[in-house]
Symmetry: none
Subunit: 211 residues, 4 copies
DNA sequence: GACTAATCGAGACGGTACGTCGCGTCTTACA
DNA sequence: TGTAAGACGCGACGTACCGTCTCGATTAGTC
């Protein structure tokens, strides 16, 4: 976004909710644009069509605005699938995750968040919290199928391979994050981490399941 | 670094090589410090104890200084091992790669490079080139053992899992890049990508070893 | 003054007279303080402990408030004496005028008025009107004794010498406006403007009196 | 003035004298215009066509610029006449003084100085110093003719009547400061302050001189 | 005695000006 | 000729203040 909005009506001595939303929306909009340089409060104010003092009144730093803006979006809610099969759960989760991250509405925001994290400690903390939440989700999924994993497998390593790949491709941009990638990645992780599956277990979801 | 250096003697009408090195060293030093904000030429000049005009005369942008500074370091030269065994080659390569990246002298520079890449397009291009070179090295290693890989394996996916993990942990900092990580990662990749290995090979490291 | 006042009770849909007086009193109080910067409506409102909108509702500019505030004071009413003697009338008038201007309650207000007149055209107009009134009073006094004045005397010059001295000393502050000044000034003016006085008149106050 | 000037060439690491003069000239120019509000450094910088930082580098406050700007003008050098005659000296001095103050090039600057003095303590101090110098000049002139003055005459009172009249008319603007005013004022002061002159002295200028 | 009407204190809001900070250009003085 | 030094114009940042606007509380008049 980054363009100005129409004027808003005052709300008297109460805080103007419309203004608040305009600021948060403009912030996410600016995060999308790589063109705009550092995310500063005056730039946010201008993009939101809001007085500078209004932004400074409610937020101290760009990081605070960012935190609230992204929280407002209830961003990237990837539900954890639960089909009973590790293979299927993982494949679905990765498909959803990669598709969500690569979506045109999301990818620029994630890139913008990383860009800000490289510049602003508050944004970096925000990014750390955000990624920790995502890692926990995937770790939970894997641990639900602990019986299918080798006993000494390093779950965190598996998790970081997934999100490492995701951010690496997202930021470098040399390769896609498509459905095929998700499928192959899921298979590879299962092959790397899993004990040889029992036939009957495998047969329930596996491609080679007995007919 | 980031601190001032002692004065250097003029060299008259010849370009002062000591000054050049001071600038490049100060640049790498600044890259290490997350404290310092954006890497700009005046900051570099001040850190090198050098006149601003001297820096502007020889380099146009911070990206150019960065390029020359990192090239000067011949940084992160990880030789590709060649033992004849995929498992061994991969394990050694990953151990060297992760150890090199996590080394106290290197990690802050890589983080600094990523930080600058988030801000400066030239630095981003530099980072893209650098990572492409590294990916090519690992891809070459894997392709040397193409007979050990499943015919339809996605080599790029394997490569990106490695460097994705590396950068992800390097930048988020939530988990280490130690030797154990390298070993487990190597095993996982082989398990994911490899055809069934010869027994004697597998038995040396494989989870199913030892009856 | 310039400090806040205690809260006042509402008077419903009638204009609150107490508020009006608080505003006017605060205005005069602020005029006294050279510390306070320009006299603006928000500053007046704050000093009066009154909502800004209340001030803006009843007055448009600081000049309007000032006009009403000074009119309220019916300030500096110097009655014109009439003893029949030019010397006595003039001496008494000047004593009263200088004493009034130099009084601790008045001098800071006059200085403040001059200060505002240097900034606000409305205040300047107010000051011009005020000074014109004062000049007219003194001119009237002198013209009542036209027979004692030389026929070609410039009455306006005499008047401006008086008020010029007054404002000059008031604003620069390098010399007092005391009773002795008034007496000597009166004598000087009579000497400068008067025809030779009747002996008995002169002998009453003149330097050559004493007998 | 108040308009922008053409760009100036840099002078390297030496202070740019052309810039300095541009700032001082613009300051006096702004002082002339009553339109321009308070004399602030950014306004001066804009009027001089100079970067703000350049003004802030060399002067801390508008008062400092003002001091230097007026000193640069070597302003209002009224040479003290010395003809041997009180009447003549005084008349000439007052004519020069009033003519100088009322001159189109000077009057607006004096008014501007008074305007700033009403707002800025540094400018007020400058005005006090300036007026003190002028008073001393006139007092010196009068004291040179102490034998012509009554022994108990208040010289300061005479001086302040002169400058009081000058500033009063200059600022209120209700009456002119012309040659006739100067002549009449001089006569009045001599009449007020002088002992009865010897006949031959009086006859030279006095209106009632026998002859 | 409820309802309307208008005042009052409070503070959010958009806009503007101020003083600071940093970048990149330019010119000098010196080696 | 190259280097250190620093003045300079420009623009962004964060703060302060002005005048407008709306809100909720309070009280005076009206039916």
């Amino acid at each position: 976004m980054g363009s100005e909005a129409e004027p808003r009506a005052h709300t008297g001595r109460r805080r103007n909710e419309a203004t608040r939303h305009a600021v948060l929306a403009a912030t996410v909009g600016l995060l999308r644009d790589a063109e705009h340089g550092p995310l500063t409060l005056p730039v946010i104010a201008a993009a939101a069509g809001v007085g500078r003092q209004t932004v400074y009144r409610w937020w101290s730093t760009p990081g605070e605005v960012l935190l609230e803006a992204l929280a407002e979006q209830a961003s990237a809610q990837v539900p954890t699938p639960d089909t009973g099969s590790l293979d299927a759960d993982l494949r679905v989760f990765l498909e959803r995750t990669l598709r969500g991250a690569a979506a045109p509405a999301t990818a620029p925001v994630l890139r913008g968040l990383a860009r800000e994290a490289a510049r602003d400690e508050q944004a970096a903390e925000l990014l750390r919290t955000f990624t920790a939440t995502r890692r926990a989700a995937l770790r939970g999924l894997l641990l639900r199928h602990a019986d299918r994993l080798a006993p000494d497998v390093d779950v965190d390593l598996l998790v970081d391979q997934v999100y490492g790949l995701l951010w690496y491709r997202l930021l470098i941009g040399h390769a896609p994050l498509d459905e095929d990638t998700a499928r192959r990645l899921a298979e590879g992780l299962v092959a790397a981490a899993g004990v040889a599956p029992s036939d009957w277990t495998r047969s329930s979801t596996g491609p080679a399941g007995g007919g």
